[in-house]
Amino acid sequence: MAGKGRGFRIFSNIVMILLSFAAVMPFILLVVSSITREEVIARYGYSFVPRAIDFAAYRYLFMSSNRILKAYGMTFLVAFIGTSCNMLMTMFAGYLLSKRDLPGRNFISFFIFFTMLFSGGMIPSYIIWSRLMKVGDTIFGLICPNLMLSAFNIILMRTYFTSNIPYELCEAAEMDSCSEAGILFHICLPLSKPMIATLTLFSGLAYWNDWINGLYYLVRRKDLFTIQNVLNTMQSNVQFLKDYATASLGEFAQSIPSLGVRMAIAVISIIPIMVIYPFFQQYFVRGIVVGGVKG
């Protein structure tokens, strides 16, 4: 029996090592491609071992280093403010919806759920946020639209509260004259750390990776661009110049390494997430498992 278990463990480990290897390989290829000379890739294709090392792509990116550093700062600011607002509202909404005696609970839940299925589309959303809410060319344009409230997160939070916080506990607190805010902050939230950490990571990642809001709502204030906006614009420009490389575009197109730049952009933009992710991992796994199984 013990031998069987050992064999299974070895087999499992081999499978997991292979899977991990398969997950890491593309990243290795990404890094290697970003430091391989463009013409070598054109001539010989991709390789895990660079035939000719060239940091031209990184040089091109770091010519805009001031801009990139500033954009990193904006990204941290936007991600911090946005995630904080998102979590506050998610926790409040999730807590309210978890109350069985909330009037119109089903209607409100459907109303929130409905937005997961249908959206207004690009132009109506833009007009609402830009003309009505006046977020254009302000930092609010990066924080408010799309990301500040997630129906998916609210439903996860609500499910966690209803499934994992005993109703009797809240009832007992209520009998001891605890207010709703007190129940939320002193009882529910301390018992929901895995889910809060998981949703914080979700929300933080969404803000970190977002470039759509900047594209839509920052027409003049490019100084407010986040790192994803800067890199996305750079990549779009590079791609365009390669796709439409005719006539006088040549001078520009020739001066930028397109493939290498794209790879370098990917490397630069994922580094902070790679640094942060391990700290959240334990909560992330627990939160997802609990939310998924009991949801």
């Binding site: 003049r220 365009f240 110049l241 390669k242 575009l249 040549g250």
Partner: protein
């Protein structure tokens, strides 16, 4: 207590950050003031002429104009905008400009949103790389310019009449074509060192036949089997067709549309078969780029990367072609002319429009007129400010200002072709002083041939289903044929069978019907 204090500090920091970042600082970009003026301008503003006479420049309407940017920032934009506006005041133009750089990669989205937003409108923009005139009219994004035909008659006399037709819908002018050669011929560019090695350099800049090109390529391949010599799927002048700008080529005119009135199913024609056989011959002789179905590198990239030795492209004369090569290719090159000059819809690359959300179309038209006719106004857009972004040599050619290059100049000097009349600008980073004057000379050359279909736009609506189905089939089959990857007899027959089964004959018939009506309306 400490936690509460931390929370209070964090809340305060957040509030301050939000307030600080939320306020749009007019001084930070230098362009807020004009745009604010534009927003402040009443919708029912008086015509520009009246404003010029009756008010001071501060009250003139401000028109927001698109600036094409290849990067996400144009640092010199505030200075150039100020200089342009000072010039507009000096000529009592009655209108001011608000320059809005839009990065080329984000342009489609940004323009689409601004064209739907009357609170933050774009007033003047070009349609190249964005859309087509019929589509913009259909989407109600631009206004008709017909009422300005009598106000600015010389604007309708700049180019050949056929060219204006390409920017009309139902006979109404919605866009003014951007200055260009409006025609071209096929050229083949080859590395000069290779041409000299195989003894064909003496044919540089001369007209040669396709057979002569094939002989040259055979010698080149023999000398340099490591290089490829062709990798492009669309070489329309060499194929000799006018495709009306339709990428699926489901109905075309032969002879590039010159003196041609019959629309044919190109894929079933002997001409297409002959071209496929030519491509197969190139492939069989090792001249086509490796893995052509997945290789998306442009011809000049292949040359620069040392993979290609030459490629096909279009030009309006050989000197122009060589000038382009100097800018694009790190090797010295020569060119061979392969076809005769002709113009068709595909040679009208750009046009300028007034948006339907523009609050003062009269003022916008006035500025547009100046962009087409005033060299000084034109050069602010194409080159910036002399001494700051460019300098002029004794031949009248422009170069980057001292100490400036493409990376630090702060203005996009590489896209004169995007602006209304590049021929009022100066040749940039080239010794070819006739770059623009030779181009402009073509407009009055009555010997040049244009397609009968200049201005014809096929309305797919009556055969939409057939068109969609056939276009998908073309996507599946065509590249393999044009890269010589398949057996022509078998593959072409299957290709045509599928096209027939999905209604290509109906498409061609509908196209012919619409083309006949177009020709009748022309006459």
């Amino acid at each position: 207590m400490r936690k509460k204090l931390t929370a209070a500090i964090l809340a305060a920091v957040m509030s301050i950050a939000l307030i600080a970042c939320g306020s749009a600082d007019p001084g930070s970009t230098g362009t807020q003031a004009p745009s604010e003026s534009a927003e402040a301008a009443p919708a029912e503003a008086a015509p520009a002429e009246a404003s010029a006479e009756e008010s001071n420049p501060a009250d003139w309407p401000v028109i927001k104009v698109e600036i094409l940017s290849f990067t996400d920032a144009q640092e010199k934009e505030p200075e150039i905008e100020q200089a342009l506006n000072e010039y507009l005041v000096s000529i009592d133009a009655g209108v001011q400009a608000d320059l809005l750089p839009i990065a080329i990669g984000d342009r489609a989205t940004t323009l689409t949103l601004m064209l739907a937003d009357p609170d933050n409108p774009i007033d003047l923009f070009g349609w190249r790389f964005y859309s087509t005139v019929p589509d913009m009219v259909h989407n109600d994004q631009i206004i008709s310019l017909e009422k300005y035909r009598d106000v600015y008659p010389d604007l309708w006399d700049l180019f050949p009449e056929d060219v204006y037709r390409t920017c009309q819908v139902n006979g109404e002018q919605y866009s003014i074509p951007g200055a260009d050669s409006f025609g071209n011929f096929q050229v083949y560019a080859m590395r000069k060192d290779v041409a000299e090695e195989i003894g064909v350099a003496d044919k540089a800049s001369t007209r040669i036949t396709l057979e002569e090109l094939n002989d040259i390529l055979l010698k080149a391949e023999e000398a340099h089997p490591e290089l490829c010599w062709h990798g492009d799927t669309a070489v329309l002048p060499l194929q000799g067709i006018d495709n009306f700008g339709e990428t699926a080529w489901l109905g075309v005119l032969l002879n590039r549309g010159v003196d041609s009135h019959e629309i044919i199913n190109y894929y079933a024609s002997p001409e297409f078969r002959a071209y496929c056989e030519q491509c197969k011959w190139w492939k069989d002789n090792g001249m086509i780029v490796d893995d052509p179905l997945n290789n998306t590198y442009a011809g000049y990239t292949l040359m620069n990367d040392g993979v290609g030795g030459g490629y096909l492209f279009e030009a309006y004369n050989c000197e122009y072609a060589l000038s382009l090569m100097k800018a694009q290719i790190q090797y010295e090159t020569i060119v061979f002319q392969l076809t005769d000059f002709a113009g068709n819809n595909s040679c009208v690359y750009n046009g300028w429009n007034i948006s339907s959300v523009c609050r003062n179309p009269d003022a916008a038209m006035k500025l547009l007129y100046l962009m087409y006719t005033d060299p000084q106004v034109c050069r602010y857009f194409t080159l910036g400010i002399e001494g700051l972004t460019y300098k002029v040599d004794e031949n009248g050619c422009a170069w980057y200002a001292d100490g400036k290059d493409v990376n630090n100049v702060g203005w996009n000097l590489s896209a004169p072709w995007f602006y209304p009349n590049e021929c009022l600008s100066l040749p940039f980073e080239t010794d070819y002083a006739g770059y623009f004057s030779d181009m402009a000379a073509l407009w009055s050359d009555n010997s040049l041939k244009y397609s009968e279909a200049m201005g014809f736009v096929f309305d797919k609506t009556p055969v939409f289903d057939q068109y969609s189905a056939c276009a998908a089939i073309v996507d599946e089959y065509r590249t393999a044929l044009l890269m010589g990857q398949v057996d022509i007899d078998d593959y072409l027959a299957r290709f045509n069978d599928e096209l027939s089964a999905n209604g290509i004959d109906e498409i061609v018939a509908e196209m012919q019907k619409q083309f006949d009506e177009f020709e009748a309306s022309k006459n």
